[in-house]
């Protein structure tokens, strides 16, 4: 699939950037092989740790820049969890905050040129989404036992026939959740990076006219910065919504 670079022609290979390549030569990828995906996920963890552990280390009354960045992020996610899932949901705040930070920084680091975006891979996001799905379902059953099935039974609907139809729809939509949850994140990231690469491909053949795609790339890059933050927020907020469904089933 890897395309060759040809001088003076359109070089549009938008999917090449998503290839998982072993770090230390070779082409074989086993489960233990350190690849570029491993590297960038590791870097994400390092950056998150730096911000959240080393940043607020000073515990100053007047915070430094790193400390206030960490505090603002913490407060933002905390408020989101508290608003949607209430006091009960705060028990699961560390999990949601971890998800948010990991996705946010994986998205942001992926915008560095020549980097690799782990969150554009459905393999990565599917694991995150399945973890959320299993956790939330388990919490629902542990907290409410069989009462969790009230989530699928819309008791406010007027007739029993309608309730049965709605129950079918609710069950389907419940099981589509991990699918849409993972594909939304991976699809958005993949689309954005592919668009950047397509525009970069135009530049090769245009000579001086390459200014136009370069300006376009700059604009799209700004948009991607926004998408990176919004998708992390959306992933986290949907996790909270699902968690809230598990904590308070029934309509």
């Amino acid at each position: 699939m890897a395309g060759e670079y040809v001088e003076g022609e359109f070089n549009i290979h938008p999917m090449d950037q998503f290839q998982v390549i072993p770090l230390f030569g070779g082409t074989e990828v086993n489960w233990y092989t350190p690849t570029n995906a491993t590297l960038w996920m590791g870097l994400t963890v390092v950056v998150v740790s730096l911000l959240m552990v080393a940043g607020p280390r000073g515990r100053a009354l007047v915070p430094s820049r790193a400390q206030s960045a960490a505090e603002v992020t913490y407060g933002f996610v905390r408020k989101m969890v508290e608003d949607i899932a209430g006091k009960e949901g705060m028990k699961y705040f560390p999990y949601i905050f971890t998800l948010f930070l990991f996705i946010l920084f994986a998205n942001l680091l992926a915008l560095i040129p020549y980097s690799f975006s782990p969150t554009a891979h459905i393999a990565v996001t599917a694991v995150l989404a399945l973890a959320v799905f299993i956790t939330v379902t388990a919490i629902g059953f542990i907290k409410h036992g069989l009462g969790f099935f009230k989530l699928f039974w819309v008791s406010s609907a007027p007739t029993v026939a309608l309730r049965i139809v709605l129950a079918v729809i609710e069950v389907i939509s419940y099981f589509v959740r991990p699918l849409s949850h993972s594909i939304r994140l991976a699809g958005n990231l993949m689309a954005g990076h592919a668009v950047l690469k397509v525009f970069a491909g135009f530049a090769g053949a245009l000579g001086v006219g390459a200014v136009v795609p370069i300006i376009a790339i700059t604009a799209i890059f700004g948009l991607e910065l926004l998408v990176a933050c919004i998708q992390a927020y959306v992933f986290a907020i949907l996790t909270v919504v699902y968690l809230n469904d598990a904590l308070h089933p029934g309509h």
């Binding site: 949607i84 849409s180 939304r184 958005n188 592919a194 927020y233 959306v234 907020i237």
Partner: protein
Amino acid sequence: MEGNIAEMGQFIGAGLACIGMGGAGIGVGHVAGNFLSGALRNPAAAGEQTATLFIGIAFAEALGIFSFLVALLLMFAV
């Protein structure tokens, strides 16, 4: 012009799949536009509803992303 008919089908299918993305665009615009018109009528209540706005946008956008994924699969994976 040369190439086989299967490849032509792939490209046509990918193009058709992209129509779905237009639908998602309409949906997202609808959500954001209605939010804005509501927010301008009652700015005091708008701040609390931004989370709902993003949830709505995310649900509308997911379907467009699905069709984009189908297009990508047709172009590069089939």
